[in-house]
Amino acid sequence: MVRKIRVLVAKPGLDGHDRGALIIAQALRDHGMEVIYTGLRQSPAQIAQAAVQEDVDVIGLSSLSGAHRTLFPKVLEELKHRDAIDIPVIGGGVIPSEDIPYLIDQGIRKIFTSGSSTEVLADYIQELIDPKTKPIEKPKKIAHIGIAVENIDNSLSFYTDALGLELEAVEQVETEGVKVAFINLGESRLELLEPLNDTSPIRRFLDKKGEGIHHIALEVDDIKTRLEQLIKQGVKVINEKPKPGANNSQIAFIHPKAASGVLFEICQHEKSDN
């Protein structure tokens, strides 16, 4: 069984505001970590001692009283005395941004200030301690390039006759109001997209921009995780959840605003490669 990440959440000094510390402790527990909370009024020595005793992977310090410039580096010093300086220390609370470079310079790994999300914090710790558990595979290849056309039958001959490519199939995706012609091209495809009705997004595209490249689709391994990661990073997406696409796939669109005006689709095909 994999050992859980162990986190010491500590309140150095006399500050009694522990709303943030308690929320973070619970959020990290919800992310499957083991959290030890020291309680209020801990001296730097007590914190370092607890970190060593509890054999934690990371220490999170919270201070809202303005004593961070003194107390955070003191915790590092106490860790050094105990040969435990390899335990990374992160901090948070009411910390003016101008103090952050000083703290980082002293050896604090990162400062999360007011308004940080617990998700980002949990991911950061995960990355810091155990980066191998959750790597997200890079997109593998261009799955296809979607080309909007008025009429597949009229456009097809350029691809099949002039370029000599192979038409694999023609499929209607009713939910999207689109008819798709799949043309094989090496390890990718070209997809000709013809609107089935007036409310089809392809119809709107054609009305606005005329025929041409509509979108680029990237093949990913785990569309759900990838999509969550994009949303978490603040990338604007069109579909918050994967939806069924053509050819037994799960797809989702990223907003063109996120990619210099290019509409990207991410897609994951069923594992059956045959």
Binding site: G16, Q26, R41, S43, S65, G66, V94, G115
Partner: protein
Amino acid sequence: MSENKLHSSEKVQYETSVSKILKRFPERQQPFTTSSDIEVKRLYDADSAESKSSYPGQYPYTRGIQPTMYRSRFWTMRQYAGFGSAAETNKRFRYLLEQGQTGLSVAFDLPTQIGYDSDDIMSEGEVGKVGVAIDTLKDMERLLDQIPLDKVSTSMTINAPASVLLCMYIAVGEKQGVPLEKLTGTIQNDILKEYIARGTYIFPPKPSMRLITNIFEYCQKFVPKFNTISISGYHIREAGSNAVQEAAFTIANGIAYVDAAIESGLDVDSFAPRLAFFFNAHNNFFEEVAKFRASRRIWAKIMKEHYQAKDPKSWKLRFHTQTGGSTLTAQQPDNNIVRVTLQALAAVMGGTQSLHTNSRDEALSLPTEDSARIALRTQQIIAHESGVADTIDPLGGSYYVEALTDEMEEKINEYLEQIKEIGGAVQAVEEGYMQREIHQNAYEIQKRIEKEEEIIVGLNKFKLDEEVNPDLLKVDEALEKAQIESLQSIRKERDQKAVDKALSALKENAKTPDANLIPNILDAVRVYASVGEICNVLREEFGEYTGL
């Protein structure tokens, strides 16, 4: 056709038109709720709220505790301030008084609040940070220099060592030649909420409750115009409770103090008129107004019906309000001015007796002088320009506000019932009941914000790519050293024999549960015994509270 029938046919017509419209245009969310999870209806009308005719200045004071409210005098504009040394804070106080502030409010640093001297090892890095450092009477003399204590009322945010700081205030009054009965002000002195939410406790609950009732008794005799406690929901809310929990836990604590005082032999009408309350004002405007109105009504009923208090002054819930610190964002800090304005308006519409408006930069550090001035100006604009203070309880009779007031009263009473079943507030605190309730709610709020179910402008929506860093107040790091040197030179100069004598008398009396310790503490501060020395004597006798 009678008026009633006309009314109901219009209502039917209205409801028909709503259901038609809803088919085409669904509403923004379903359901709408307040912070306390009270469902907010689409529309409130005469059927929603029982009409309870009541008048301000009359039991149960739903519409305010005075018959004329702000038509005679605005609320007291009282900005909490304090940082660094006593001399520096004295300058800020005099600046605020010149700017039209009408009362002082002292913030103490954490060592003072937890009864440590500035040179204590525990004080390292904290001296003068979140408030002014007070070690001995000398610091208090510097803090109040040239401020006439017979003319200015002073609120002190001090709890565990409240008796020590009150005695220092009295001693400065003596030096200024102000008779004790002319001193006005408030000490927070609310230890229960320290265990629950704020964390600056020293002693265990029992001896702490004794010190509080000692103060009640002493002040009733000698300092009759001083508010001996400010029962605080503010910090409970900051720690993450909702509005109902804030009011309920505060009132439950109030009940515990009244019980303790009665048990120590005091007559309810001898101390209850000097009890004051301290609430928060957050963003949900009408819920906040309703909270203040409901709390007044509940307290009046408890004091009159349960405790049989005879003096109407004992029935009146008087309160100070501070706008919600935890609602401020570090992002786009100028937006906080708008939040503070709305919150301050809710406090005024709720009939507050005094008000602190937070500064825009408080999510980042202590306020600069500029920010503190804007915060005060916000109150002055509400008072002098908006006209909201020209009639009493302007929201009284609003279908929504009256219905919400009733509903909050009901929900607060449910909590009071539950705490009573546990065995009262002291027991509930010792079991961690309130702490758990608050934490649970705080975590829910955080999750809702992260899922964007709750929108905080500038934080999870309407963000800026690049944040501008405002100028912040910096407390000089050299201050700690200077404060320690000053303390040590006072120790050398003072009459050490007198100090030893006063401290051992205090120690002796602390062993006698019936003794009132205030005269001993007053003797000790007069000869410049320090906050830490006095608290250490009491620590030896009372022990220390170490949290759950």
